[in-house]
Symmetry: C2
Subunit: 310 residues, 2 copies
């Protein structure tokens, strides 16, 4: 058994929860903070969780990666809207055998990062979790919590991968390592594409979209376009997947997805990750997701027009 | 020269303006009013117009078509959202040689009405005008004013048609009689489809939509889908028409189209006229207007969801 060191790059609701669980279970975890640095350094991190509340004190916190030690595993948990800074941000903490896991939305960012770090093992992490940061140093974990990862290619050490899985599992996080990153990314988009954008464009929540027959049909159309885009890109998604996603969402509590929270707080939305890149990749593979593209066009208008008015 | 009698069915901003001009020029015009009946009967109709203000007193007003005389020309100026009542409403005033002109938005309503009035001449009227009702009995005519008509088929008397043209022209209304109703209806939709729906869906005005590159591209996409739908339905629209529409709109003052005004006042929107019917007809002719359909789905959600919340 190897003792791995972890760095959490961007400690928001996701990074705080997963990094916090690892830290609580005795792992060596280093947290990068920005605006909350002073608060957390002094007061620690407080997590109210459906799986049990916890509080961390004397955390290893930093406000600059240049001050951080090199790590075995970098958990990138920041929004993709900042990903252009990622190579520079990661450079000081990455060594030859560092595993970089992007626990982020979207498509294509692992491939992009591989250009800057061609020697390192890079994985995507799909978090199935409802968690939010309610104030500096305070996170509420309301539901779910599973993490699924898949490596970009075969360039990873199986023993380290197994250890990462063991560390998360021991920390109480249901962890699955899959082997088809492209498919996992696209499966997540089948949910993210309709609900993130439509809750913003129509200023509503998931339950209202599901109840109205017109918006429910639109959700179905957007999901089916996404499945067609996925298949064009070589991701094998089964025929009943759309109906399963709809049925799962019917069972969920009324929910405002991350993009709706970003919109409400006038934070930059992950339009490129969830719409721009998938549309571009599907189009390059021969399929034009027209309704998905229209949603992207509306979101870009909303972001550029309404944000600037504030 | 025949002296024609006119009935205005639904005297809002459009009917009040055109009927008012005809009445002012000495024609025999009968106005159907609903909620404004008492006010207008007592106070008359006041029109502030870029082409000269005028006031009408002692108008021939009614609140029920059963009380109206049969007329030579019925100008139907109400919203299409009430068109299911039209056969019943028109029955008392229509005789065998009555000409019925639908000065309305949308597609397919002349054909629909012909089922109830198979013997009568039916025409569509495309109003190119900025006019609005600001309070009971008060209309503001801000810009333009031309009226283009086209008959559904050859079942009309050319002499009467010529007289109608003369009457409007003498009343100061630029009037053109074309011969391709299908093409005129579709040409108007090329403008109506993007601007009506998007100003509601994105809570904005035409100028903001034109300035932002994403929404401008979306407008172009919606126009091009409409042109493709038109062509599938046999309406010959030229290649440069979209660019001309965009250039014309660039020159317009910031504008809230009728659907946006309906939305702001929680009045039923003309979703079926401007979206439902054209989508259905294009689809039946083999072309699926996907982005136009998405806009319809969003508008139906907005109407059903937000209106019911009030």
């Amino acid at each position: 058994m190897k003792r791995l060191s972890y760095a959490v790059i961007g400690t928001g609701a996701i990074g705080g929860y997963y990094g916090g669980r690892l830290s609580l279970s005795g792992k060596d975890v280093h947290f990068l903070y920005h605006s909350e640095y002073d608060y957390v350094k002094k007061n620690g991190l407080d997590v109210k969780s459906v799986n049990g509340d916890f509080h961390l004190n004397n955390m290893q916190v930093y406000n600059n990666t240049a001050d951080m030690p090199k790590c075995d595993v970098a958990l990138v948990c920041m929004k993709t809207t900042q990903n252009d800074k990622l190579p520079q941000l990661l450079a000081p903490i990455v060594k030859e055998d560092t595993v970089i896991i992007l626990i982020q939305n979207g498509l294509g960012y692992e491939q992009e990062l591989a250009k800057a770090f061609p020697a390192q093992a890079i994985a995507g992490g799909m978090a199935f979790i409802c968690t939010s940061r309610v104030s500096p140093g305070h996170i509420v974990h309301a539901d779910y919590g599973a993490l699924t990862t898949a490596y970009l290619d075969n360039k990873f050490d199986p023993e380290t991968a197994e250890q990462i899985k063991e560390d998360f599992t021991n920390a109480g996080v249901p962890y699955t390592q899959g082997d088809d990153l492209n498919q996992f990314r696209w499966r997540k988009l089948v949910w993210n594409i309709p609900y993130n954008g439509l809750t913003v464009a129509l200023r509503t929540t998931t339950d209202k979209l599901m109840q109205n027959p017109s918006s429910r049909q639109l959700i179905t159309d957007l999901m089916e376009e996404t499945v067609a885009g996925a298949r064009a890109c070589g991701a094998n998604i089964k025929d009943d997947f759309v109906q399963k996603m709809l049925a799962n969402t019917d069972k969920m509590e009324p929910y405002a997805p991350s993009m709706r929270l970003d919109y409400d707080n006038h934070r930059k939305m992950e339009i490129q990750a969830i719409y721009g890149n998938p549309i571009k990749m599907a189009k390059a593979a021969g399929y034009h997701m027209r309704k998905v593209e229209m949603l992207e066009q509306q979101l870009l208008f909303i972001e550029q027009n309404e944000y600037s008015a504030k």
